[in-house]
Structures are given as structure tokens and as C-alpha cells.
């Protein structure tokens, strides 16, 4: 029953987004509009990234890790950060607290990322008769991505929306934001340069996403204390 398998993988990939929205106070404050706007910003960012990649990147025949190409990809990856900055600061949001704003933006961002990157392979591949573990691993990756996006949005809101931050914490905030922003490059280095298998890479992503979420939560609550 391969439609069954498709259904299973789909709820693993997209279920957590819906659950996050309905479980947290986001649903009470009706922040769906914010998430949708963030998703649209992600779409625009992805298009800009595509154009830059096509213009500046060489097509490599082998699957090896080329440091210069990867550096270039990382630089283009910072367009992501710029997009997130735009979504957090420039869009008009209804009267929702900062607490909920970054969550909504992160959620919309992660949902758009999952749909764009994972829906098409799932549709084409998971419905076939042949069974592989790939699509379940992809779903787990989507979960890790959700956590990472929300952490990045939290750090972003700390950097750009909060004015009075304790001086000692500022470099830590920027460092963590830097790590989270370069996650794609790190995973591609692991896959290509060190030759890790897909399950190992997904495990690494899950672990780091939980760690970064915990650190950003601590940073956020630390910054919250002076203003509270």
C-alpha cells in the first residue's frame, strides 16, 4: 500500500508544523497571516538565491567537496538571513507580541521550506511500489529544519528587534546565529567531504537543532529578564 506510505511520510514532514501552530498560543492570537507572509518572503528569497547560484556557481561533474564552491554557496546562503530580516522587521504585523512574532515567522519559513524542497520528491517517489527509507529520513530532516528555523527567527528577533540587550550576550547571539545560518553548508560538507550516509547526517541535524533550540531559548529568556 504505497499511498499509505506517502500519507505516512507526508504527516511526518508536514504534521509538526500544523501541530506547532495549533498547540502553542499562535492559534489563539490568529497569527496565520504572519506565517503566510513569511512563507511568501521565503519564496522570494529562494528565487533570488536560485538566480545567484545559477549566475555564480560552476556545475561540478563529480560529487566531491570543493571548498571554494561551498564558500560561495554559504555566502549566497546569507541571502536567507537577509530574507528573514525583511520578514521580521519590514512586514507589517498585527498587534502580536515579539514572543509570538518570531515563532510565527519561523513557522511560516520552515513550512515553505518543507513544501518547496520536500513535497515534489515525496509525491513522485513515495507512491511507487519500491520501498526505501529515504522519505522517512527526509521527514525527520524537515522536523529538524523546523526547529532550526524557529531558533534562527528567535536569534534574529533578538538581534534586530530588541534594543536593550546585555552587553556580554551580544557576541554569543551573533555566534549562534552564524552557526544556524551556515547549517546547510555544514551538512553538505559532512555528506560530501566526509562521506557520511544519509541517516547519520539526519541524526546530526536533529541533535544540533535541539542543542541550538535550547541555547536560543536560554538566550531569549536571558534577554527577556531586564525588560520584564
Amino acid at each position: 500500500m504505497t499511498v499509505f506510505h506517502f500519507f505516512n511520510c507526508a504527516i511526518l514532514t508536514f504534521g509538526p508544523h500544523a501541530v506547532y501552530y495549533s498547540a502553542t498560543p499562535l492559534s489563539e492570537y490568529d497569527t496565520l497571516g504572519t506565517s503566510v507572509k513569511a512563507a511568501l518572503v521565503y519564496l522570494g528569497t529562494a528565487l533570488v538565491k536560485l538566480v545567484c547560484l545559477a549566475t555564480f556557481l560552476k556545475v561540478s561533474e563529480t560529487d566531491n567537496f570543493d571548498p571554494y564552491q561551498e564558500l560561495l554557496k554559504a555566502l549566497i546562503g546569507f541571502i536567507d538571513v537577509a530574507g528573514l530580516y525583511f520578514a521580521l522587521t519590514q512586514l507589517t504585523h498585527r498587534n502580536i507580541s515579539q514572543n509570538h512574532k518570531f515563532q510565527a515567522v519561523g513557522l511560516g519559513w520552515a513550512f515553505a521550506d518543507s513544501v518547496l524542497h520536500r513535497l515534489a520528491p515525496l509525491w513522485v517517489g513515495a507512491r511507487g511500489l519500491e520501498f526505501t527509507w529515504d522519505y522517512l529520513l527526509q521527514g525527520l530532516e524537515a522536523n529538524a529544519n523546523l526547529v532550526l528555523s524557529i531558533s534562527l527567527a528567535a536569534l534574529g528577533s533578538l538581534m534586530w528587534l530588541r534594543k536593550n540587550k546585555p552587553k556580554t550576550l551580544i557576541p554569543i547571539i551573533y555566534a549562534c546565529a552564524g552557526i544556524v545560518a551556515t547549517m546547510p553548508s555544514i551538512t553538505s560538507y559532512l555528506r560530501r567531504g566526509l562521506g557520511w550516509q544519509f541517516p547519520k547526517v539526519v541524526g546530526f541535524e536533529l541533535f544540533t537543532s535541539l542543542v541550538m533550540a535550547f541555547i536560543s531559548w536560554q538566550l531569549f529568556s536571558a534577554c527577556q529578564r531586564p525588560s520584564a
Binding site: 500500500m1 504505497t2 499511498v3 499509505f4 506510505h5 506517502f6 500519507f7 505516512n8 504527516i11 511526518l12 504534521g15 509538526p16 501541530v19 506547532y20 495549533s22 498547540a23 502553542t24 498560543p25 513522485v124 517517489g125 507512491r127 511507487g128 511500489l129 519500491e130 520501498f131 522517512l136
Partner: protein, 575 residues
């Protein structure tokens, strides 16, 4: 208030219809991306006078099983993968004779039998072991009626890995079904249809002899005939290198040698030579029968004798001449003596076998019998000592390129050419070698080799060869190179035999997960989402909110009834 409710209902309706559409789209399962795709060849399917034989189905969509299943297991939805190397013929015999229900059979042939592998000397011992098994298997399958698909495939790494996995699964005692996972074999092919009017094509070449001036009578003719088509369990693999590829190549080589002699009027003999490549051999030499019927009466009477060639490529030290006229007949004696003399010189024996023909019996075991029925003297030269049964020795699975022994084959060609030449030029009994080795008229081994190689890679079951098949065109061109006049005769195969198409297909092997796995996964994912939901509710809204989620309905009813009571009181008061 009502407006909003109507709009909400409309939205819900559209959402539901969208969901329905999505479900319909999702339900089309795509059969692409198989892990392994293998070429498979179907067992032949044919009728003799309406009686069905062979495998009657073509499409396949079942789980794979191996021979290690537990006895008494239900195999009606399983395809049994049987490597021929480990085959115990009694299993197949039992299954076929008792008509047990089976999803299908897939026989795995060793790689050495592949058409592209020419002469594999190293694995000859392996072949011996498999040879007898294959012979019996082929005979059994061709004469049985099997209401399920039967396919042949060649072993390779991927299919061996699949078979090992399947054996391991079977060893645990669970037959592969939808609930236990395993491998699924799928051949998406249409139902086999009858071949409409199977054509048989006879090709004849005529070498004109030297007519002296003032010679009013027709020159006598000698005919050399060989049938070129085959029949076997797997028609896409029936190349018949020995039966009767050797006969065809011998005929072509003799034609080449005599065309060299006849090209010069000084060495042209006083006989016409008629070369005939006939089709329909396995079906009681139907093609030869039709070919002879098309002859002019004068031509038929002018034929001195005909030599038919049938399997002359893999013998050790004795060839046989089969006749239907009694051996005491003067003509037969003459022919036999001629052959024996040459054979003695070449160092082997030739025996004579007599088999009377029964006009009322439709079975024609040798090609010369078709000539004898029309009162033409004929004999068949063959390595077989006994007459083959119907559809036997017609080039089956075993008859591949290494079955032909080149040295003995060259000796057969020398025998035929030398005996004919001595008769034509009147050198009977004299020790003159016309086609001596190292002469310009020697038998050419590379010519023979290249034609044998070509024939060993061309399956030639007559109903599946069209009129304009490239192979038939090649034969025609070759004969035209060596003879003066080539005529092609297209006929329809006798109505007694009916054939069905679909001889070759692609097998997709999928590794499938069982339904229980999917259900388990659904359970795990459902619980994961529920846990995630509760965790998020507790951390962001507090534990009380989580509990209140389950307590809301009763409290609302109480609220509503209280409100109603309050309203009624208010109304009473107003009134």
C-alpha cells in the same frame, strides 16, 4: 451572522471537494523506479488442433517465493523462482501433473547460456550437469498446459541477491504476502494474442548446369535442402545452432563451393543444382510440403535425388543416412555407396537407416519423407540415429553455439560436397579429392564460423519471423551471391498449429514493505504528533490548558443552559 455561516459552509464544501480530488490523484500508484529490471523470455504458448499447450498467461504481479517453502503452503499468489542449477525435476513434474495452483514460475538459467556468450570452454563441466535437467524440463514444459505465466531469465548479480533474500525469508517459514513484505515481481504486459497468419518463407536457389548444344532434354537436377527455423520452450532463445543451424551453414558452404566450380563453363557440371532453405520444419516439414507442391511436374521428374541436411554439427564418429525407400533400391545403393567411399577417406563411418512412411499418418519425421511422398528419391543426412518425435530436437534451450563442434562439422560439409561432386562429374569410386584442404576449393572455416555465430544469435521460430525479416533477407542475399536465380515463396503455416505472441518482456522487481509495517509506522507517527502536541501545550500554555481541552464540551452545555435560564427569567420579569 447568517452570511458568515453560509460563507463558512461554502468554504468547507470547497475544501472537501479539494481533498477528494487530492485523494483521487494520490491513489494512482505509479509503477516506476524498480530496484531491478531484468529481461525475461516467456514460455511458448501454442495450440495443436485447438488443444492448448504451454503457458497461457503473460502478465505477472505476485510476490516472489523460492523452492524452500514450507510444504502445504498456498502458492497461488506466489511466483516461484527456480534456479535451474538446483532444480529437482520431480518438483516441477509433480506441480505440473497435479495441476497445483501457482502464481507463476521463473526459471533462472546459468549465464553461460546467454546468446552473446560464444564459446565458453571453461564452464563445460557445469553445462553437462545442467544439460540433462534442461532437456527434461523443456520436454515437460512444452507438452504441458500451464494456466500461469512461466518465464526464463539469466542469472546475474542482482537477481542472485534477490533470490538469496527470498530464500532467507522463506526459511523463517512465512510465505511472502501483502502483510509480510518481501519482493514483488511485476511484468506489465498485455494479454497474449493469437498470431494472425503465421507466414513461412521458403528460399530456393538454382545453379544451372552445362547444357551441351543439341541437347533437347532437360538436364537432371540434384537438390540439397535444409530447414532453417526452430522451436523451443523459450521462442526468444531458440537459436538452434545444431538443429538446424548446422544444416543451413552446410548448405550455404556447399553452395559457395559449387558456385566457384560452376562459374567457369569448363568446370560446370551436367547437372542443375537446386538449393532449398525451407521453413516450417518442426511442424511436420510443412514448408517443404508446400514448396514441393509448387513445383512444375517436369522439374519434379527431373530431380535425380535430394539430400536433406538435419543436424550435422555435433557428432563423434558416425553419421546416418535415413531413407524411406528400401535399401535394396538401386538409386539408394548408389547414393549410399558414394557417401560411404568419401566417408572412409575422411576417416569415419556412415550408417543407413530405413524407415517406412505411412501415408495416412500426418506425422512427418524426416524432411526426405515429403519428397518420398511425391515419388522423388531422397535421403536425410543426420547425426541423429532415430527419428525425433513431434517438436523434439528442433533447437531448444540447450542448443547454443558451443553445442556445435567445428571439426566434425567441417567433415560433414566435406562429405556432402565431395559425394555430390563425384556424382556430378562421374568420379565415383575414384580417389580424387575435389575439395582438398589447402586448395582454392577447400572448405572455408572462417566462413562457416561467421555464419554459425550469426545463426547462434538469431532466434528463428517461424510464426514470429515476418516475411521481410532481416535474417530472411540475409539468407536470400547469400544464396543470390552463390546461385543464378533465387525465388522466395511465402506461405501460411498449416492451420493445425496456432501460436500466441509476447515472447519477451521486462521484469520489474520491487522490494515492498508489508502492510503491518505501514500500520505500525502510522501508529508511531500518530503518537509522536500527540506527544509533540502535548509537550508544546504544556510548555507554552501550561498543564491546565491541556486538561481543559478535554473538559470543554460539558462546561459549555452547562453555560448555555444557565444562559437560557437567565433569559427565561428575564422574559418572565419583563412580562
Amino acid at each position: 451572522m447568517a452570511h458568515r455561516k453560509a460563507r463558512e459552509r461554502d468554504m468547507l464544501d470547497s475544501v472537501y471537494s479539494m481533498l477528494a480530488l487530492v485523494f483521487i490523484l494520490v491513489a494512482c500508484v505509479e509503477l516506476c523506479d524498480a530496484a531491478t529490471v531484468v529481461d525475461v523470455y516467456r514460455l511458448i504458448q501454442y495450440d495443436i488442433s485447438g488443444v492448448p499447450f504451454g503457458s497461457r498467461l503473460a502478465s505477472l504481479n505476485h510476490h516472489a517465493g523460492s523452492l524452500h517453502f514450507s510444504p502445504g503452503a498456498d502458492l497461488s499468489r506466489t511466483v516461484v523462482m527456480i534456479p535451474v542449477r538446483e532444480l529437482n525435476i520431480s518438483f516441477v513434474t509433480e506441480y505440473v501433473s497435479r495441476k497445483h495452483p501457482l502464481g507463476g514460475m521463473l526459471f533462472l538459467l546459468p549465464e553461460i547460456f546467454r546468446l552473446e556468450n560464444g564459446g565458453g570452454g571453461k564452464d563445460v563441466r557445469e553445462k553437462e550437469v545442467v544439460k540433462n535437467v534442461l532437456l527434461e524440463l523443456e520436454k515437460l514444459l512444452v507438452h504441458a498446459k500451464l494456466p500461469y505465466p512461466v518465464y526464463f531469465a539469466f542469472e546475474n548479480d542482482e537477481i542472485d541477491a534477490v533470490l538469496d533474500d527470498v530464500k532467507k525469508n522463506d526459511a523463517t517459514g512465512q510465505p511472502a504476502t501483502a502483510t509480510t513484505g518481501g519482493y514483488k515481481l511485476v511484468i506489465p504486459i498485455a494479454e497474449p494474442k493469437k498470431v494472425a497468419s503465421p507466414t513461412i518463407t521458403n528460399i530456393q536457389g538454382w545453379l544451372q548446369g552445362l547444357k551441351a548444344d543439341g541437347d533437347a532434354n532437360q538436364l537432371p537436377t540434384i537438390a540439397i535442402v535444409a530447414s532453417y527455423d526452430t522451436f523451443g520452450a523459450a521462442p526468444a532463445l531458440s537459436v538452434g545452432s545444431d538443429s538446424n543451424g548446422s544444416g543451413v551453414v552446410a548448405l550455404l558452404e556447399v553452395a559457395r563451393l559449387f558456385s566457384l566450380l560452376y562459374s567457369n563453363p569448363k568446370t560446370r557440371g551436367r547437372y542443375n543444382i537446386l538449393f532449398g532453405l525451407t521453413s516450417g520444419g518442426p511442424y511436420n516439414y510443412n514448408g517443404t510440403h508446400k514448396w514441393l507442391r509448387s513445383f512444375d511436374q517436369r522439374l519434379r521428374e527431373s530431380i535425380d535425388y535430394a539430400i536433406c541436411l538435419n543436424s550435422v554439427g555435433s557428432w563423434n564418429n558416425e553419421l546416418w543416412i535415413h531413407v524411406s525407400k528400401p535399401p535394396e533400391n538401386a538409386y539408394i545403393k548408389q547414393i549410399f555407396e558414394g557417401f560411404t567411399n568419401v566417408a572412409e577417406e575422411l576417416g569415419f563411418k556412415v550408417g543407413l537407416k530405413h524407415k517406412k512412411i505411412n501415408i495416412s499418418n500426418p506425422r512427418v519425421a524426416w524432411e526426405h519423407e515429403q519428397f518420398s511422398r511425391l515419388r522423388v528419391t531422397a535421403a536425410t543426412l543426420s547425426e541423429l540415429s532415430a527419428a525425433p518425435e513431434l517438436l523434439e530436437s528442433t533447437g531448444g534451450l540447450l542448443d547454443s553455439r558451443h553445442f556445435v563442434d567445428e571439426t566434425s562439422f567441417i567433415r560433414s560439409v566435406q562429405l556432402v560436397a565431395e559425394s555430390l561432386a563425384r556424382h556430378i562429374y562421374g568420379y565415383q569410386g575414384k580417389n580424387i579429392q575435389i575439395f582438398a584442404d589447402n586448395s582454392s576449393l577447400a572448405v572455408n572455416p572462417s566462413y562457416i564460423r561467421s555464419w554459425l555465430d550469426l545463426l547462434s544469435q538469431t532466434p528463428r521460430v517461424a510464426p514470429f519471423i515476418s516475411k521481410n525479416d532481416p535474417f530472411i533477407m540475409a539468407l536470400k542475399k547469400e544464396l543470390a551471391d552463390h546461385t543464378d536465380e533465387v525465388i522466395m515463396q511465402h506461405e501460411v503455416l498449416d492451420g493445425m498449429f496456432t501460436f500466441y505472441d509476447s515472447t519477451k518482456a521486462s521484469l520489474n522487481i520491487y522490494q515492498v514493505a508489508s502492510v503491518t509495517f505501514d500500520l505500525l509506522l502510522l501508529l508511531v507517527l500518530g503518537s509522536y504528533l500527540i506527544v509533540l502536541f502535548s509537550f508544546l501545550v504544556i510548555t507554552t500554555r501550561g498543564l491546565d490548558d491541556l486538561i481543559s481541552l478535554f473538559r470543554r464540551p460539558p462546561s459549555r452545555k452547562v453555560e448555555v443552559s444557565q444562559e437560557k435560564l437567565a433569559n427565561d427569567n428575564y422574559e418572565c420579569v419583563m412580562v
